[in-house]
């Protein structure tokens, strides 16, 4: 059995997450990935914004920073720039990272700063009770979209790719083993990395859309999942409402803190 407790602040348990929430599966995958890489807990700085998912930083035994809504990436940027030797991991929700924090998300990707973002995509604002998010699919109900969401939604992995992230992967909490691998790769990657994780929020999203409990929603994730290799042979119509999983981007690009260090070196005699 993997010893999760090594990385948990045990006196802070139980977690605030609802029964059936997928966030715990992401947490566990993340801890296994960190353990596999063999990171020293003192060398990890975990930064989050505001939301259910962002509460994670209070429970894990690293240098932890629970910031303001949407701003985890800027705080993390300051940490990374001032102490590049730290492994900086951002934990954030779909609303946190791509609504209020959308500007920071794309600019961090553009800079290609060596930060790993674990983006918990539950298609909703969980913490505040189920308001529509930039990833709520069109037509789905939310407390602020009682007649169905009239807006188009974001492909947030695609957004990171277009903005210049050097690593992007999408996984689901149904497939925790691949998810762990994506997170491991993302942390190892020198550059801005994103792992978008599809995770169910039965409380604020599932119930309103009659998607069943957490287990049923995870089962649905399995049915909707199409691995990238298979998706490449499918038409856009066939891929409607599907979740394409896998490593979507893995490229080498100059990394920002390295670039800046080189600039500093130029002035050293």
């Amino acid at each position: 059995m993997f010893d999760y407790m090594k990385y948990m602040r045990q006196d802070k348990l139980p977690l605030i997450w609802c029964a059936g929430c997928g966030d715990g599966i992401v947490l566990k995958s993340m801890l296994r990935a960190i353990d596999k890489i063999g990171l020293d807990q003192n060398e990890v700085c975990m930064v989050s914004g505001i939301g259910c998912s962002s509460r994670l930083t209070g429970y894990v035994d690293f240098n932890t920073l629970h910031t303001t809504h949407g701003r985890a990436i800027p705080f993390a940027t300051g940490v990374k720039m001032a102490k590049p030797e730290l492994t900086v991991i951002v934990v954030t929700g779909d609303g946190d990272a791509t609504a209020i924090g959308g500007n920071h998300y794309i600019h961090a990707a553009r800079r290609n700063i060596d930060i790993t973002v674990i983006l918990f995509n539950n298609n909703i604002y969980g913490m505040t009770g189920g308001q529509v998010s930039p990833t709520t699919p069109i037509g789905k109900k939310a407390s602020t979209a009682p007649f169905g969401n009239p807006e188009n939604s974001f492909n947030i992995s695609g957004l990171a790719e277009a903005a210049g992230a050097s690593f992007v992967a999408r996984g689901t909490v149904h497939d925790a083993i691949p998810l762990e691998k994506y997170i491991e790769k993302a942390i190892r990657k020198k550059g801005f990395s994103v792992v978008e994780v599809m995770t169910p929020c039965p409380t604020a999203y599932g119930r309103r859309n009659k998607l069943g409990n957490g287990a049923a929603m995870i089962k649905q994730l399995k049915e909707d999942t199409v691995p990238l290799s298979r998706a490449q042979k499918m038409s856009d119509e066939e891929l409607q409402d599907k979740i394409i999983t896998g490593v979507l981007v893995d490229v080498e690009r100059p990394e920002y803190t390295d670039n800046y260090q080189k600039l500093i070196e130029r002035f050293k005699g």
Binding site: R9, K12, Q41, N42, E43, C45, V47, T57, G58, D61, F62, N63, T64, L65, H66, T67, T68, R71, I73, P74, F75, A76, T77, G78, V79, K80, M81, A82, K83, E85, L86, N103, H104, H107, Y260, L263, I264, R266, F267, K268
Partner: protein
């Protein structure tokens, strides 16, 4: 311009603007990380630092907005770095939420606001002092803050260093309020020898990680501060927290924490507040002025005295915490206090409160982008003497 060497231009004699002096002072104070977003009339601070910081091994970042700049300096400060951002009105408004974060999480940092006319985009190139109340109350909730206001280029240099010192000693964001006039005025300054300048650093924990309480209630009211990445593994949050740093909803713990947080600056007010006074025996009228307006006021006081008026002059260089004692004793001495400011009377309210009816307040206000002229103040002094 003549290329002849000028006898007075030595190592420490320089001609510089307020914005340049601010950058220079920050470097002397030990600035390591700057993040900002361009805005008139503050941009020169960023420009100077973008050139100087990498040359001394520091870091400069132009962020995507003022919100992220404020967030980034907090992140950097948590690793132990001295960090600063600079902006003007619109950007200062954007920084407010994260400024409150620095306040509650007690993260030392310096926020420069080179004030311009407002509200909104307002008067981008013209001076104002309209953000003095925002500096105190701009972010939501009761919170500690320090704000300093220099009146000359040399004072910008000195007060920037002091801003860092205060931020470090009290674990608080310190706001440096300049205005467009001082930011852009070139003056000859004689900088003090670096060796004579006192630099304060945050107090490091004296206990090991096992015993460390990041928000411990200490005698001074300021808990020692560990750095991220040095074995302490503490938690930092903008939620109200207890001594351990973790969120709490317990009213006893809430009161303990917010009580300490909100009293730590007032408790040390005497050590923090600096006021330049020029008092005259048997004065009947006083002038209270700050920032660039204090320069006009200083001249006005001199001119009015030549005309026979008996005038006291006080110029606070720390606005928050408010120099209540100094204003109170001024109110004991004179029957009227003239408060010139480039806003509609923001500090005049504070002066009135501190005077508590012992002296009448006479306001001189301008918000048209024009400085208050010495003559206008002389007139008020003579009329009220």
């Amino acid at each position: 311009m003549s290329k002849e060497p000028r006898p007075d231009v030595g190592k420490n004699v320089r001609v510089m603007t307020g914005n340049e002096a601010c950058a220079e002072g920050a470097l002397v104070a030990g600035l390591y990380f700057y993040a900002g977003y361009p805005i008139t009339p503050s941009s020169e601070i960023a420009e100077v630092l973008s050139e100087r910081l990498p040359q001394i091994g520091g870091k400069f970042m132009q962020m995507e907005d003022e919100i992220s700049a404020m967030g980034a300096i907090i992140g950097a400060s948590l690793t132990g770095a001295k960090a600063m951002t600079a902006t003007s009105g619109p950007g200062f408004s954007l920084k407010q939420e994260n400024l409150g974060y620095a306040s509650i999480a007690e993260v030392p940092c310096v926020v420069v606001n080179v004030m311009r006319g407002g509200p909104s985009t307002g008067l981008p190139t013209l001076p104002a002092q309209g953000d003095v109340m925002q500096a105190r109350w701009g972010t939501h909730g009761d919170h500690p803050i320090i704000a300093v206001a220099p009146t000359s280029v040399l004072e910008v240099f000195m007060l920037t260093i002091r801003a860092f010192n205060l931020a470090e000693r009290y674990r608080v964001p310190v706001i440096l309020l300049m205005d467009e006039i001082i930011g852009h005025t070139s003056e000859k300054v004689i900088l003090p020898d670096a060796a004579t300048i006192e630099i304060w650093n945050r107090q490091a924990p004296t206990v090991g990680p096992d015993e460390y309480l990041p928000y411990k209630i200490t005698e001074s009211g300021v808990p020692p501060m560990a750095k991220f990445g040095e074995g302490y593994r503490f938690h930092v949050t903008g939620l109200v927290h207890d001594e351990t740093g973790f969120p709490t909803n317990n009213s006893v713990q809430i009161n303990k924490f917010l009580g300490r947080l909100n009293s730590k600056i007032d408790r040390h007010a005497d050590e923090i507040i600096t006021v330049t006074s020029d008092l005259q025996e048997n004065a009947t009228v006083g002038v209270f002025a700050y920032g660039s307006t204090a320069r006009s006021a200083k001249r006005a006081v001199m001119l009015a005295r030549q005309e026979g008026a008996r005038v006291d002059f006080i110029n606070p260089t720390v606005l928050w915490p408010f120099p209540e004692k100094q204003v109170s004793s001024l109110a004991e001495r004179v029957s009227k206090i003239i408060v010139p400011e480039m806003n509609l009377g923001q500090m005049a309210h504070e002066v009135e409160w501190a005077a508590r009816g012992r002296a009448d307040i006479v306001k001189i206000n301008r918000i048209d982008g024009e400085p208050i002229k010495p003559d206008d103040i002389v007139k008020a002094i003579v009329e009220n003497a």
